[in-house]
Symmetry: C2
Subunit: 331 residues, 2 copies
């Protein structure tokens, strides 16, 4: 057993973690247990956000929030533990849409967020309050306060993300992905400021789906440039494990886009952005010129999450020592 606040990392400097839902949230939890509270900022994908039955749903923000609040559902990977479904059942009985499940407790966050967004508050401010009320000591911010919507072009036509992901269970063949609104969206102010601060220690791209969870973040106007300008190391954790995705449609998507399900594909996807890639298993086929660290990236237990967080931070700190060389490659 690892005490939840064991192995504190006392290095100075802030760490930015970029993530989507399930897999990313696990590493974010690990990082939150090893970094001082004020030294971690988690920037979350909002390309999956959508308006459903009149509610503003932010699936990835909520997955990260629930995970860090200790109220997430470990079986589904989304939603809350000990959830009830009386709302959904009653909604179905009056002819409402039921293809997207909102549990009774989960609904509270969605109703409150929608209400406050309509009143003119920012998604950042609302998320901060919800996190604070749930006792989360680290900062979770949306990638942007402006709407960016992931649209998947498929063999059955273009589909909004949740219609592709949930309603159609990722069955349609993906052809490309578009992030509507990204060109005119601004990076969330605290996220941008932390990236630009000289005190930045590392940027960690969590093992989320590169195409559906990380690319929306990278698509926000100015985000890619901000990452390329940081002086601190940028490290990604490859979501590939044993030639497959741990969870979700990543492997299927890679095949549909004509790419091999390998660490090298991930490395090439993030080329020009990252200084190092953390991989599980064999790394000999990585052709991209970047630093690679091998280790266990499967995060079943809290111990795994903390262990990976410590490994990634160590990797980043080692890269920071050779920072000039890394930056030269980017220059």
């Amino acid at each position: 057993m690892v005490p939840t606040d064991a192995q504190p990392d006392n290095s100075t400097g802030s760490v930015v973690a970029l993530c989507g839902g399930v897999g990313g949230a696990k590493l974010a939890l690990g990082l939150s247990r090893v970094l001082p509270d004020e030294r971690l900022l988690i920037g979350v994908n909002t390309g999956d956000d959508f308006e459903h039955i009149g509610l503003h749903v932010s699936p990835d923000i909520d997955t990260v929030t629930y995970t860090l609040a200790g109220v997430s559902n470990p079986e589904t990977g989304w939603g809350r533990a000990d959830e009830t479904w009386n709302f959904m059942e009653a909604l179905g009985a009056i002819g409402g849409e039921t293809w997207f499940s909102l549990g009774d407790k989960d609904l509270a966050v969605n109703v409150e967020r929608t209400h406050r967004l309509r009143a003119g508050e920012s998604l950042s401010a609302i998320t901060r309050d919800i996190c604070s009320n749930l006792g989360i000591p680290v900062q979770i911010v949306p990638m942007s306060d402006d709407p960016v919507r992931t649209l998947v072009d498929t063999d059955v036509g273009p589909l909004p993300f949740q219609n592709y992901f949930v309603e159609r269970q990722c069955v349609p063949v993906m052809r490309s992905v578009v992030f509507a609104g990204a060109d005119s969206a601004s990076v969330q102010p605290e996220l941008l400021a932390t990236l630009q601060h000289r005190d930045l220690r590392a940027v960690i791209i969590c093992p989320s789906n590169p195409y559906l969870s990380i690319d929306p973040i990278l698509s926000v106007k100015g985000m890619r440039e901000a990452l390329q300008s940081v002086l601190a190391p940028v490290v990604a954790v490859s979501p590939v494990v044993a030639g497959d995705a741990v969870k979700g449609p990543m492997a299927k998507i890679m095949s549909e886009l004509g790419m091999a399900v390998t660490h090298d594909t991930v490395a090439q996807h993030y080329t020009e952005l990252i200084d190092g890639l953390m991989v599980d298993g064999d790394c000999e086929h990585i052709t991209s010129k970047l630093a690679v660290m091998t280790g266990n990236t499967m995060m079943n237990s809290l111990e795994d999450k903390i262990s990976l967080a410590l490994d990634v931070l160590k990797f980043a700190d080692e890269l920071a020592a050779g920072r000039k060389i890394i930056r030269e490659r980017h220059a």
Copy 2:
């Protein structure tokens, strides 16, 4: 035991019932069990409607709907039976407003209604669909599709209805009531058409609070004139029983407005509108010149509700036989 569809009333002509929440819903249920489905239209107060945490709440429509669908909570008089409160608990935990209780099942109707209203549908159309899905065979319509909001002027200042009624539990002393928007609202089209149709058999004003539940209906532009023009008898059931209200703040309000809690006060309140008043107990002190029928107006059991419905219909039909005399008084 009375079979639920016993004692059918086979007279022709439509009956309009006007009501608020709890008490009115009980008589509406009784009427629905004795009239042919297509011969009853229930016009419901929407002055209590309000926007709460971004949701359009219609308390009286829902009470009538749940009562007629057989899913109402018999203990509270509002909300649904076998309700759960996980949404409210989770909402409180993230700092949301919890003074107005919305159960997990009840929330389904509120979310669906809000969503569809925002999409431009009328409250009538949404209510009709919800009722249809819940298997309600009679028509329930809002008094108007336009917003009318009951505002209570009190010794602590003006209060929106729900803030007076629920948040402050009717403690402030009432001075007057205003129905904002009533002047520019239109009577719900089917309600108006049924009132104006030559086939009208009777209008029944249910034993709801005259000041807070029936007056908002009467305040809608054209409603009072429509009622005064009907050829069929208009009969009210007095909500006073044994010098008190069966439930709710009616008696307190009557006192605050300087009126005695008597059938005569009710009769005077509805003067120029009704042809007959159905009262429980002693009627000798009624000074208004109108027909009075005594009977049991307490509705504890379904048998009571059916029995009162039959009594009121009989009363109305008897008045109809002497229609000319009644109309002359109004002329």
